[in-house]
Symmetry: D2
C-alpha cells in the first residue's frame, strides 16, 4: 500500500477503526442472536448496542494488546470499558477469535469488491464514450507491430470495453466467492455456539454462512478472489501498453492528456511522456504478484495454521488499494486521452497504399489471374513503394498488366476504406448491444 | 507434460493429429457457411468433406512445413492432396491463420475442461462416500498443529468436498470463459469474411462467436482459465497436506492404501510413505506456475503479437495434463485410503482428557465460579495431566473444590463427545443437501 | 511494509528523510567533482555543504512537489532555500533525475543488504550454538514424515547453519550486484556531464560506477537482488517448517519458547502454538512474491520507461523490511526454542526398536543368511512389534533362528546408537570448520 | 520441453539413457571407493566396470520398474544382468536411492550449466561484434518511448553485452551452487557408508561433497540455480523487446534477418514480422515461471519428502532446454539482424532538430540569458517545429534574439552530434576493456 498509489475510499476499509467497527457489529449481532434463542439474557445483548455510536479508541486498544498479546481480547476489553464489564460478560461467548477475524476480513473484501465493481463500471463508461466517438476513425491494424490492414480506433476502445466487461462479471463472481461469514467455534463444529447465531450475524452483515468452516473460512475462496484481481490487473496492462505504443514519438496516434499551456513541456513539445500508463504497467505487476501467495495460503495444516495471516495483512490492502487506484487512473487516462486521427492516416500511409497489397493480390486472383502472375504484378509495384515511397495505387494504375487484369475502377475500389469498416456496426452491436 | 504424470485421454487432446482434425473441421464448416451465403460454390464446400474420415499424415504435414515454414499453410497443402487442388481452392478464403489456431486452441481447452469437470465429479463422489463412512468417527481437531477440540473425520472429508464442489463451479465457469471461437480475419474486422461464417463454425464446434476479436481471441479469457486451474491445484495441495500429516509415524490416523501382504514393506511395517500425496504437492506447484505467464500473455501489442504462442504451447498441455493426472491420483488416494479410528482416539488422549480443559473452564464459570478460582482449579489438574499423563477427568473427580463447584455428573458431562458432534448433521445437510 | 512486521533500523532506510539525505549527498559530491574539474566554481560547490547538517523538511518538499509535480525538482528547490538560490544554481547541472533516483535506490539497497548480512550472521551464531548444544541429542530421522534411521538434533541445526551460511554468501553477492551508481545524463552518454563526476560520487558513497547505464541503472541487477531475497526467505520457511513439525502435539520434540509461568496457557498446557514459525512461513511468501515483478522490471523500453518505478516503490521496502523482520524473528526462535530430548527418544521408540529393522536385515545378510530367510526372520518379528508394540530387540533375542544366525552380541550391537553418530564429528568439521 | 524449442545437445542431458549412464558411474565409482577402503572385495568393484561400454536398455529397465515400482532398483537389477548377479551383490551397499538420484541430478544441472555458459559466451561474441560495427551509428535515445537525446546503436549493443556478461558470471556461480554430490545414506549420517566413498564419487564426477546432506541435497541450491535462469531469461526479454521496437513499421531501425529474395514476403515488403524476438519474449516467461516452484521446493519435511521430485522432473529439463534454445535463437538474431542507420537519422529528425531543444535551452542560460527569456526563445521556435515540422536550427538562426544571445556558431554547435558521442570510447573501454 503505497500512499501515492492509494485512494481514501479504499484505504479506509483497511483502517484499524473500520476493522474494530466490523468486529463490534459481529459481536453485537451475535449477542442479539444468542438472546433470541435464549442462550444469554436480552438485557446483556441490548447493553452491547450502547456502544453503537462509539468511535473505538485505536490507541487504547493497542495499549491493551501490548499487555494481552491478543488483538481480539484487547478489543473485547476495550468494548467492556464502554458497555460495562458486567453487561459485557456474555460478549463473544462460545466464539473463537477467527469467527471475528475471518468474518471481518470477508466483509472488508466484499466492500473492496463493491468499490472495484464501481471502478470498472466507470472505466466501461469512459471506454464506451471513446469507442462511440472514434467508431469510424481509421487506423492501421498491426500484427507483430507491423502494419496489417485498416481497422478503427473505435474498435480498439470497443475491445477494451468487452474485456473490461468480462472483468466486471468476474469481479462480481469474486465478490460472491468471499461473501461468506463463519461463527462456528474453535474447530468449526458449533460445539459451543448455535448455528443460528452464525446465520443471524451473516444476514445482518450481508453475508451467507460458510457451509462448512474449520477454525477458519477456507482459503480457496480468497485464492480465487486475488486471482481475479490479477486478471483484471493484466487487462489494465493490456490497455496501458496500447496507449504507450500510441504515444511513442514515431507513432503519435494518441497521448495521455496534457493541457496546451502546461509549463515545462512546451520548450520540448515532443517530450510528453506516457508516464501514467507506464505507471499502470508497474501497478499491474504489483497486483499480480499477490496471486501466488494467495494460492499458497490454501493448504493450511489441519483445522488451521496461521501462516495465511501475515500474507493477508499484506496482500489484502495492497492488492485492493493498488487495483482501485489503477482502475481510476486508467479511467482518467481513457477519458481524457488525446487522439490524433491525422497521424493515424499518415502512419498508415507511411508506405503509401502498401497496406493494401494483400487485398490487391486477392483481387487479382479472384479476377482470374494465376497466383504466380498476380504475385509478380503486386511484387514489382510493392517493391517500388517500399524502396522509393511512391504511391501504390498510382503504381498499379500505371501498370498496364494490372489495369488489364483488374480495370481502373476495381483497382481504385481496393483502396476504398469502407471495405474495412463495413462490419463495424455489427461488432459494435455485439459489444454494446442492439442500439448504441 | 511429464509422461509418468499423464493420462492418454488428456494427452490425446494435445496430439498433432487431434489438432489437425480440429483445423479440418474449422475449415470445412467455414466452407459450408461460405457456400450457404453464396460466396463460394457449394460443390467446393462439399468436396472438402471428402476428407471427413481421413487420418491426416502428421509426418507429411511436418515435411511440408519444413519447406513452407508455416504450419497452417502446410496443413492446407496436405488437405488439398486429399480433396484435390482445384476443389480445395476456396478453403481458408478470407481467413487468417489465427482464425484456425485460436479457435482450435479453445476447442482443445473446452475438451480439456470437460475432462477436468468429470475428474472433479469423480473426486467429489469419493469424498462424499468417505465423509458418510466416517461422519461420526471422532478425531481431535487441531489448530497450529496443536490439539484443540474434538471433531470428526467425516467433517474433514466434508470440507474437502465443499471445497472441490466450489472448484467444480469454477471449472465450469472457466470452461465458458474459453468456449469462444473467432473467424474474423487479419485484424478482426471481417473485411474479407462474413461474420455469418464465424457464427456457423462456432455453432458446429460448440462455441460462441467471440464478440470482438483482433487477429486473436483476447487472452484475458485464458488468463482466467489458467488461474482457475491454479486454484484447483492449490485445493489438491490442501487435501494432500492433510493426508501427509495423517500418515506421519507419530500421528498415524490414516494412510495411503497398501495391500496387507505387499512385499518389501512388511519387514519395515512402519515405513509406509505417503508418496502419492507428496507427489500431488509437487504437481500442484507445476500447475500453479502456469498462472503468471498466462496473465503476462494478456498484454499483446496492438492487434496481436506472437509472444503468447510459445507460452501456450507449453502451459496448454502441461497444466491440463498435470491437473487431470493429479485429480485422478487424488481420487484414487481418497477412495482407498486407510483410516485408523483407534489411533485417532489414542492421539486425542495423548494427555488423557486434557483436550477438554477449556470446556471445563467454561463450565465452571457458567456454574458461577469466579474466573480466577475456575482458572486455578483447572490449572492445577491440567498441569498434573501434562506432566504425569494422569487422566484429567479422574483428577477433577478427585478435586473436592471442583466437585463442589460442578458436581460429579456435570464433570462427567464435560467429557461427553456427543457435545462436539451434535451439529454434524446440520453441517452435512449444508454440504450435501437435505437428505444424504 | 506491515508495521507489526517491521524493525526501525530497516524502515529508516526507506523514510523520505533518508532518501532526501542521500539525494543531498549525491548532489553535493557531484558539485565537488564538477568544481575539481573546473566545470563550476569551487565556491558554489562549497556553498552546497552549508546544508550538511540540515534536516530537510519533508512536508515542505511535499508542498513544493504538489506544485512542480516533480520530486527531484521539489527537493532542489528546497535545497536552494537552505543554500541560497544563487549559490545553488549549479546544483544538478548536466544531470538527469534518474542519476539521483537510481543511485539513491542502490545506496538504500546496499544499506539494506548490510543489515540483512548482519541478520544472517546473528542467525548463524544462534544456529551454531544450538547445534553444539545438541550435537549428540538423538532423534529419529524421517523421510516422508515416516521414521527412517536415527540422527541427531545437532545435525538438524547444523544443516540449517550450512544453508544459512550459503545464504550469507549469496547476500554478499547480491549486495555487490546493486552497489553501483550512475551519473551519466539523460540517455547515459555523459553528453552533459563528465564521467569523472560519476566516479567521484560513487567513490564517496561506497559504490562503483555502473559501466554502462542508459537513463537508468540496468534492472537485471535488481532482479538478481530480489531473487536472492526470495531464496533466503525460502530457507526461513524451511527452518520454520521443521520447528512447526517438532511442536505438533503428537511429536513435541521442540517448541517455541514460553515462560514457565506464562498466564493464559497453563490452564491448557497442551495448547502452546508455534505461531512465530507459522508467521515466518507466511512472511516467506511475502518476500518471495517480489521476485517475479523484479524480473518483469528488467525489460524496459529503449533507454528507460518508468514501469519499474511503482514496482520498486512497493517491493524495495516491502521485501527488505519483511526479510529483516523474519530473520530476526527466526534468530529469536532458534535461540530460545525448547528442545525435548526425552520426547525424541520416546517418539523414536513408538514401535520399540522397529526403526532398526532395516539394519538387522542387512546384518543378517552380511552374516551369510540368504535374503529370503533374513527377510522372513525380520518380518515375523517386526510385525509383532507393529501390531502389539512389543520390543523388537527382545523379540529378536527370543527368536532362536535369529540368535543362531547373528548371536546375542551382534543382535544387541544393532541397537547401539553410536553406530549412527560415529560420523557426526566429521560432518560438524565440514560445516563449522576444523575445531568446533 | 517443447520439441520445436529444443536443441539436442541439451535434451540429451535429460534422456533416460544419459541418466542411467550417470547412475552407473556413481555406483561403479562408489564400489571402487568401497574396495579401496576394504569394505568390499576389489574383484567385485572391478566386475562392475565390465559394463563400462554397455548402452543400458531403457525399455528393459522400464519393464523391470513396472514390476518393482522403484526406478533405482530396476536399474540395479538390469545392471546385475550385465555384471553378473553375484559379482554385483555389493553394488549400492549402504547407499540410499537419493544418493544416486540427487548426485545424478546435479551432474545433469552442471552439464546444462556448461552448455548455457557456452551459449552466453557465443551471444557475447555476437553482441560485441555488432557493438563495434555500430559504435558510432547515431540513433536517438528514448525515455518513455519518446525522443530524448542522441546516442549510438553501438551503445545499445554494448549495454546488452554488459548485461549478458553479468549473466555469464551469475551462470558460473549458479553452476557452482549445484556442483555437489551426496553419498551419505538414508538420513545423511553415513551410518552405513564411509564418507570417503562420497569423496571419491564426487571427485570422479567433478563435484564436491555436499558438506551436510539429509537424505537429499538441500534444495536452496537449486532454488538459486533456477532463479539465475529466470534472471537470464529476463535479460533475453530485454534484448528482444528492443528489437521488436526497432522493427515496428513506424520505427524500422532494425529487423530480424530475411533474405532479399525470400518468397512470400516480397509482395508485402512491409510485412516482415519480428517473430523470433516475440517468440523469445514468450520463452522468457516459460523459463521465469520455474523460479517460484523451485523456491517452494526448499522447505521439505524433516530429512526429506518427495514433493520436490515431480517439480524437478518438469522444470529441470524445461528451464534448461528452453533457455538454451532461447540463447541460441537470440545469438542468431543479433548476429544477423539488419540495422538501418538511415532510418535512425530520419526518425531522429521527425521533428527536425527538435531533439536538441533542451541542449539549446541550457546553452542559452549558460551564455547568460535568464531562464525565463531562454525558455521563451526556445519555446516559440520549438512549437513551430512541432506544429509545422520546419527545421529547428533554421528557426533559431532566423530568430534575431537567439542569434544575439548565442551567436551563429554556438547555435550550430548545438547541433553537432560529436557532443553526444564524445564519451563513447570511455564507455566502450569500461565494457569491453582497454583495447577494443
Amino acid at each position: 500500500m503505497i500512499p501515492r498509489y492509494s485512494r481514501p475510499t479504499m484505504t479506509d476499509i483497511w483502517e484499524p477503526a473500520t476493522k474494530f467497527r466490523i468486529w463490534y457489529e459481529i459481536e453485537a449481532h451475535a449477542c442479539d442472536a444468542m438472546a433470541d434463542i435464549g442462550v444469554i439474557p436480552r438485557e446483556n445483548a441490548n447493553a452491547v448496542w450502547k456502544a453503537k455510536d462509539v468511535e473505538f479508541d485505536v490507541t487504547r486498544i493497542d495499549e491493551i494488546e501490548a499487555v494481552t498479546k491478543h488483538d481480539v481480547i484487547a478489543f473485547l476489553t476495550h468494548l467492556a470499558e464502554h458497555v460495562g464489564s458486567d453487561e459485557a460478560r456474555f460478549v463473544h461467548q462460545g466464539m473463537t477469535s477467527s469467527d471475528v477475524l475471518d468474518t471481518c476480513f470477508n466483509v472488508q473484501l466484499v466492500r473492496a469488491a463493491d468499490i472495484l465493481i464501481a471502478d470498472i463500471e466507470a472505466l466501461l463508461a469512459a471506454l464506451k464514450r471513446r469507442a462511440m466517438e472514434h467508431k469510424m476513425t481509421i487506423r492501421v491494424g498491426r500484427s507483430h507491430g507491423i502494419h496489417a490492414e485498416p481497422t478503427t480506433m473505435g474498435l480498439t476502445f470497443a475491445r477494451f470495453y468487452a474485456e473490461m466487461d468480462r472483468n466486471l462479471v468476474r469481479m462480481k463472481t469474486a465478490r460472491t466467492e468471499v461473501s461468506t461469514g463463519a461463527v462456528s467455534g474453535a474447530v468449526g463444529t458449533f460445539a459451543n455456539i448455535d448455528p443460528r447465531v452464525e446465520e443471524h450475524v451473516c444476514a445482518q452483515l450481508g453475508l451467507t454462512p460458510e457451509p462448512i468452516s474449520t477454525q477458519v473460512i477456507p482459503r480457496d475462496r480468497h485464492a480465487m478472489f486475488f486471482a481475479t484481481l490479477g486478471v483484471i490487473a493484466s487487462s489494465i496492462e493490456n490497455v496501458a501498453t496500447e496507449i504507450r505504443h500510441m504515444q511513442r514519438t514515431e507513432v503519435l496516434e494518441g497521448a495521455e492528456f496534457f493541457s496546451a499551456g502546461q509549463k515545462g513541456s512546451s520548450a520540448m513539445p515532443h517530450k510528453k511522456n506516457p508516464v501514467l500508463t507506464e505507471n499502470l504497467t508497474g501497478l499491474a505487476r504489483l497486483v499480480r504478484m499477490t496471486v501466488i501467495p494467495a494460492m499458497e495460503n490454501v493448504a493450511l495444516w489441519h483445522e488451521r495454521d496461521i501462516s495465511h495471516s501475515s500474507v493477508e495483512r499484506g496482500i489484502g490492502p495492497d492488492a485492493t488499494v493498488t487495483l482501485d487506484f489503477a482502475l481510476n487512473r486508467l479511467t482518467g487516462v481513457v477519458d481524457k486521452m488525446l487522439i490524433f486521427p491525422g497521424n493515424m492516416l499518415e502512419n498508415m500511409n507511411k508506405f503509401p497504399g502498401l497496406v493494401m497489397s494483400q487485398r490487391v493480390l486477392l483481387a487479382l486472383t479472384q479476377a482470374g489471374t494465376s497466383r504466380e502472375d498476380a504475385y509478380a504484378m503486386v511484387q514489382r509495384n510493392a517493391l517500388k513503394v517500399w524502396e522509393e515511397r511512391t504511391d501504390f495505387r498510382e503504381e498499379l494504375l500505371a501498370d498496364e498488366q494490372v489495369v488489364a487484369a483488374l480495370g481502373v475502377d476495381a483497382i481504385n475500389e481496393n483502396f476504398n476504406l469502407d471495405y474495412h469498416t463495413k462490419h463495424v456496426d455489427t461488432i459494435f452491436a455485439r459489444v454494446f448491444g442492439a442500439m448504441t
